[in-house]
């Protein structure tokens, strides 16, 4: 009798959750639809959009923001913001460049010192957040201002200029450029990596696109298949509950800030080895673009929900809008307008999708 009752209840429950609803509950669904729509739109309106070289450019733009969006989206799922992420990229590049140049070291030494310094800055963001118990929005707004000022101040004091000196002829530059700022593509029917785009006879993309995909895959694995991922969702979804069942909330949050810093370091190294010199005022304002990528990709502003794949799709939308406007021969001034519209549309769609899924 009891068995029959529970059987009946189970059947009814299964009927309530159909596969479509399961799909709808995915955080990245709204972004995926948006990306497809934009793709079709630009393919129709901009003739150049579908050429391989233009598409490589779109992917490149997507990747430079997408790499940062990986760390930023994880942090956002963990319930926090990092407004210093944009200038931290510049800081990372400046540290590597200034240290290598001033001390005449192999650039790889500068790269490693930059990694340590940038991670320390990320951990500092986390510690300040944990110690002060202030919203991360305020804490990182403060570090954003301090870093933006320090980037300019230190660079001017050391080089007498707003840009760092070129390190293109220093030891290790070539190998570092291969890792951080080369292209991968087809040379005579073979896949090759080269720092000089001219050597490619076939299609080629920036190596940052591969890094972007790799980072997104790793982040997805961390989120869904590791204990740390469980903790990230938990501290963002309900930090008090997470603490009550034994999740180290402070450690998880600090780790997430360090994750953003790692992405900033990588992006900074790309910047440095792509141009050999760094403009110390760069990066301001980019933090919002990273957040926009994550939000378009379905990350909830209040934390506890989202995905790295979604953030990657968000970055792709960002790249398409950014470059598609150019290929469509529109005034690039409109870029922000469209980005704002995409953000609004994405948040509304995500909100509706989630409400439906939860009902």
């Amino acid at each position: 009798m009891t068995a029959a009752l529970t059987e009946g209840a189970a059947d009814e429950r299964v009927a309530r959750r159909n596969p479509l609803r399961r799909l709808l509950v995915r955080p990245e669904l709204g972004a995926l639809i948006g990306a497809a729509a934009l793709f079709v739109f630009f393919s129709v309106t901009a003739d150049a959009f579908l050429q391989t070289s233009s598409f490589s450019t779109v992917l490149y733009a997507s990747s430079t923001f997408g790499i940062m969006a990986v760390g930023v989206s994880l942090l956002m799922i963990g319930g926090e913001f990092d407004l210093s992420a944009g200038v931290l990229v510049t800081s990372a590049a400046l540290v590597a460049s200034l240290v290598s140049f001033q001390l005449t070291l192999n650039v790889w030494v500068g790269v490693l010192i930059s990694l340590v310094v940038t991670l320390a800055l990320g951990v500092l963001n986390g510690l300040l957040y944990v110690w002060t118990k202030l919203p991360s929005f305020i804490v990182t707004l403060a570090t954003f201002l301090m870093l933006a000022g320090a980037n300019l101040g230190v660079t001017k004091a050391v080089t007498g200029n707003v840009a760092s000196d070129s390190i293109s002829d220093m030891d290790g530059f070539k190998s570092a450029k291969r890792v951080f700022a080369s292209e991968i593509g087809v040379v005579d029917h073979q896949i090759r990596i080269s720092a000089r785009p001219a050597v490619f006879t076939g299609p080629h993309v920036s190596i940052t696109v591969l890094w972007w995909l790799l980072f997104t895959a790793v982040a997805t694995w961390i989120l869904l298949r590791t204990r740390a991922g469980n903790w990230i969702f938990a501290v963002g979804g309900n930090a008090a509950s997470a603490r009550a069942v034994g999740v180290p909330v402070a450690r998880t949050k600090i780790g997430l800030f360090a994750g953003v810093a790692f992405c900033a370091w990588f992006s900074g190294m790309h910047l440095l080895f792509a141009f050999a010199t760094v403009q110390s005022g760069e990066g301001v304002g980019n933090e919002f673009f990273y957040i926009i990528c994550a939000v378009i990709g379905g990350c909830l502003l209040t934390g506890g929900y989202g995905s790295a794949v979604g953030a990657a799709i968000g970055a792709f939308i960002f790249g398409m809008v950014n470059k598609g406007i150019v290929y469509a021969d529109w005034n690039p001034d409109w870029f922000r307008f469209f980005l704002g519209a995409a953000l609004l549309a994405a948040t509304v769609v995500n909100h509706l999708v989630r409400r439906r899924a939860e009902r």
Binding site: T6, R13, N230, N238, S241, A242, V245, G246, G304, E358
Partner: protein, 275 residues
């Protein structure tokens, strides 16, 4: 035999609010201690101290004879003390199985989560409570309040190795599930666990409890062995005979004579009416 958990003269303030004063309590292996009291009496505060969520300000807290002062609930869990919180401590947007294992995740090789094991265990443990969840992947926020409570209880029962602490675990439960929870408490006791059980319902407390601690405004009002107290006396202590009578007067004043008579009858039948 040393007690698994022993509080002596424990006190706790929240800023200017005195939540707990001079409370002592002892739980030995194979013993159920019930904590009873009005709303705001300090029961949850007491439990949060045992669980490691708050630190006590005064008195001592010993686990297996060792004085402790937990920095976080992790420390308590590591000593085998598992808790069902009154607010359940779940993360609404996370799947049921992730909530079940949150903070105590089962890992396979290379730090990879053993997802299959955790899904299966969650389903089985809930099934054992009479909750048949076909989809342990649904966000726990979509479950009913009682189902959520069952998940929290099943989780504590699964992870509580030595001491089980339950803060009003039966509050949102139907008769059947409440029965299951009481059976769990008895089973845990028989397995040699110590249990701290908070409830407002004397009919739940009396059959399973070995000792009863009554709190009133943060202070202990009585600490009785089952042998020195009857179910009726316990009910009287909890409800506060005077208060029931007062309720009867109030009802009478508002003209609800019928209801007032019922309350009076109830008071009389419980044997708690002042002569």
């Amino acid at each position: 035999m040393t007690a698994l958990v022993k509080l002596s003269g424990v006190g706790k303030d929240y800023g200017s609010v005195i939540a707990l004063r001079d409370v002592s309590l002892e739980v030995a292996a194979g013993q159920v201690v019930c904590v009873l009291g009005d709303n705001g009496a300090g029961k949850s505060t007491l439990i949060k101290i045992i669980a490691g969520l708050h630190r006590h300000d005064t008195g001592t807290y010993e686990v297996a004879g060792e004085p402790v002062s937990f920095a976080s609930p992790r420390d308590a869990l590591d000593l085998g003390i598992a808790t069902v919180y009154q607010d359940l401590a779940v993360v609404p947007l996370m799947p049921v199985w992730r909530n079940f294992f949150l903070g105590s995740e089962k890992r396979a090789r290379f730090g990879r989560l053993d997802v299959e094991f955790m899904r299966r265990t969650t389903r089985d443990e809930l099934l054992a409570m009479g909750i048949d969840l076909r989809d342990v992947d649904q966000p726990i926020g979509t479950l009913s309040g009682g189902e959520r409570q069952c998940v929290a209880i099943a989780r504590a029962v699964y992870f509580g190795a030595k001491v089980l602490v339950l803060d009003e675990p039966t509050a949102a439960l139907g008769v059947k599930q409440a029965g299951v929870v009481l059976r769990y408490i008895v089973q845990a006791r028989d397995r040699g666990l110590g249990v701290v059980f908070i409830t407002h319902n004397p009919h739940h407390a009396y059959p399973v409890g070995d000792r009863f601690l009554i709190l009133n405004r943060g202070r202990p009002l009585g600490y009785h062995d089952k042998s020195d107290i009857t179910r009726e006396e316990l009910t009287a202590l909890m409800a506060g005979g005077a208060e029931l009578e007062q309720l009867a007067h109030e009802l009478q004043a508002t003209g609800a004579a019928e209801a007032a008579r019922e309350v009076e009858d109830e008071t009389r039948s419980l044997g708690i009416q002042d002569p």
